[in-house]
């Protein structure tokens, strides 16, 4: 079953669902082929406040419960995983600011999202993906400024963001403890973006390099203290992983929806294919996976609500939901048979979209390291 949300919020879910049906689902097929960022769709979504769903009430947000936001995010993901990636990535940058920024920085970024802008979180580098501590980007203090130099890659919203959370080494000799985080405004001289990546899936999200060449930012752009960047980034990822899991659940659910709709009307040997127990079992397994993944997301959110530790659960939610999204997409393709393999039908896109959920926001191997270490502990 769907997330148990406050009954009062059901009308929000209904209106988001209507928007997804009428404005995203079909339209994104074309953008999936072209790889173009659908600015018009994002503009409409921004006008309806979809960029600011996670902005806390004290900073001008709407005060939505996390579980309600999860239900809305699942609808976005069901319609198009690239769309939910764009929204989630803005919120990823926001989380970093809420975790490590000062009041002014928090308010500024919340205002930007409430106004319908996007944010980008710049941690990954060509030689620093899973090994995020191996960052080569530097920030050198010169008077009242820092000078940034380096290249970030695979940055979601890189080319469309209004603000960037950037990690850079302020003291290489300290390793990860020499990493700091900065809030950088779009348009800052020295900040440029590379080509939009030609990706396998989530093609309606913008992904590109973000390059810093003698990019001067005020010293006040530092988030927290020097050396706190890695800690801020890890805390941010801990929290955001659950939301990535939430998106993966949406893909996995869409796979079921498509498989069931097709399987009811596809006739072989004189009866709909879903009259066959073999396929009923496949649908059951798909449902078991999506429901357990959804409840894991809900559980991690509940821990956040309660102020309890959630790192392990967040990693489980992301890792498991990412894995089952791929499996459900594969099963949906199998149920649709040759049509499932055709681009005329929607399920092959689900597989291309789902795959990234095992890779970004920490690969599922990294998630297993997090989970394993948390279970085993130091010994």
């Amino acid at each position: 079953m769907a997330y148990l949300i406050n009954p009062e919020d059901q009308d929000l879910l209904d209106s988001v669902r209507e928007f997804c049906e009428k404005e995203i689902k079909e339209q994104c097929k074309e953008y999936d082929v072209s790889g173009e960022w659908p600015a018009e769709i994002y503009k409409k979504a921004a006008e309806l406040g979809y960029n600011g769903l996670e902005v806390p009430e004290e900073y001008g947000g709407l005060g939505l419960e996390r579980i309600t936001v999860a239900a809305l995010m699942e609808e976005f993901a069901k319609a198009d995983a690239g769309f939910v990636t764009t929204i989630t990535a803005s919120n990823l940058a926001l989380k970093a600011v809420l975790i490590g920024g000062n009041e002014e920085q928090k308010q500024h970024c919340c205002d930007l999202l409430m106004e319908g802008n996007h944010g980008a979180f710049c941690l990954t580098e060509p030689m620093a993906g899973s090994d995020a501590g191996n960052s080569k980007t530097t920030a050198v203090r010169e008077g009242d400024e820092y000078v940034l130099n380096g290249r970030k890659c695979f940055i979601t919203n890189g080319g469309v963001a209004s603000f960037y959370v950037v990690t850079a080494m302020t003291d290489k000799s300290q390793g990860v403890k020499g990493m700091s985080a900065f809030l950088v405004e779009a348009g800052t001289p020295g900040l440029s973006t590379g080509n939009h990546e030609n990706k396998m899936g989530i093609r309606t999200s913008n992904t590109c390099d973000v390059v810093f060449e003698d990019c001067r930012i005020p010293a006040s752009a530092l988030m927290g203290a020097e050396g706190e960047g890695y800690k801020i980034a890890m805390k941010t990822l801990d929290m955001s992983r659950t939301w990535v899991g939430c998106g993966a659940v949406g893909i996995a659910q869409r796979a079921i929806d498509e498989a069931v709709a097709y399987g009811k009307q596809r006739i072989t040997f004189g009866k709909p294919i879903l009259k066959n127990q073999g396929l009923q079992f496949m649908i059951a397994d798909m449902e078991i996976r999506v429901e357990t993944a959804r409840q894991m997301v809900a559980h991690a959110l509940k821990l956040m609500d309660a102020g309890l530790p959630y790192s392990r659960e967040s990693a489980i939610a992301k890792c498991y939901a990412g894995d089952i999204a791929v499996q459900n997409a594969l099963d949906a393709i199998q149920i649709l048979g040759g049509y499932g393999y055709s681009r005329e039908y929607p399920v092959e896109k689900l597989l291309r979209d789902a795959k990234i959920f095992q890779i970004y926001e920490g690969t599922n191997q990294i998630q297993r390291m997090v989970i394993g270490k948390s279970v085993i502990g130091k010994f």
């Binding site: 209106s15 404005e23 309806l48 600011g52 709407l62």
Partner: protein, 261 residues
């Protein structure tokens, strides 16, 4: 200008309705109630008119308050400032509804209204009577099938859809307009406007509050004789020859064979 929009809640028109063989009536169970599509166009037109020219938009409907609250909240989230339910008396005819709406319109605090908007018809019964009957009840001019609306010389100027195209019709205020599908879609509610609509009051008034006479509310000069599903469309003949000339020849043969030409 003060604008009033009359809305009706109907079963979702995107769902195919079948007749219940036991009762002879439509099977509406499990079909989500929604605001009549033409009324949503009327509300959007009124809201755009308000945004361009000032004033406020009030929506009114007839029926059960609890059942109608979601629809009214939905209207409040896409442009209406005030909402009212006229609680339905035991018996109310189609003509009685127009009478009741007319009476209620005169009692609402936001009135008197300069323009009263109705959808040109409802997607359930599709009588297309409410707007013109309401105008008749109130002794007001009415412009039907309106596509666009703008103020002119203290009154309004409307682009009216006709069978051939459209024409421009003017009327003094107050007046009634019935709205057909304009060139735009109704706006979506934002998360913020949805949440704000939850806190907005919904006023109620009874038929007696509206000053309506029970007998006139119930009076039904038109009687429904039978409710029947339209016959299923027979599948046609597809003419798809390789050459257009050959297709035409076959079509002509068939028409001649049926003695149609």
């Amino acid at each position: 200008m003060e604008l009033l929009v009359c809305i009706k809640q109907v079963p979702d028109d995107s769902v195919t309705v079948t007749l219940d063989p036991a009762t002879g009536g439509p099977q509406l169970k499990d079909i989500t109630p929604v605001v009549n599509a033409f009324d949503t166009y009327a509300l959007e037109m009124a809201t755009r008119f308000k945004e361009a020219n000032g004033g406020s938009v009030t929506v009114v409907t007839i029926g059960d308050e609890a059942a109608l609250t979601p629809s009214l909240r939905s209207c409040l989230s896409v442009g209406a400032e005030h909402a009212y339910v006229v609680t339905e008396p035991a018996a109310v005819s189609a003509l009685g509804k127009s009478y009741l709406l007319g009476k209620a319109a005169g009692k609402l605090a936001e009135g008197p209204f300069d323009v009263i908007f109705c959808g040109c018809e409802s997607t359930d019964t599709a009588d297309g009577q409410a707007g013109v009957q309401l105008a008749e009840q109130l002794g007001l001019p009415v412009i039907t099938n309106v596509l666009e609306l703008e103020p002119k010389d203290g009154g309004i100027s409307a682009k009216q859809e006709t069978e051939e195209g459209y024409r421009v019709v003017e009327a003094p205020c107050p007046c009634v307009v019935t709205v057909t599908k304009p060139a735009y879609e109704p706006r979506y509610p934002s998360i913020k406007s949805k949440m704000a609509a939850r806190k907005m009051p919904i006023g109620t008034l009874s038929a007696a509050d509206a000053g309506a006479e029970e007998a006139r509310v119930a009076a039904a000069p038109a009687k429904r004789v039978v409710l029947a599903a339209p016959p299923q469309r027979q599948s046609g003949v597809k003419i798809q020859e390789k050459e257009a000339a050959e297709s035409v020849r076959r079509a002509m043969e068939m028409l001649a064979g049926q003695k149609l030409i």
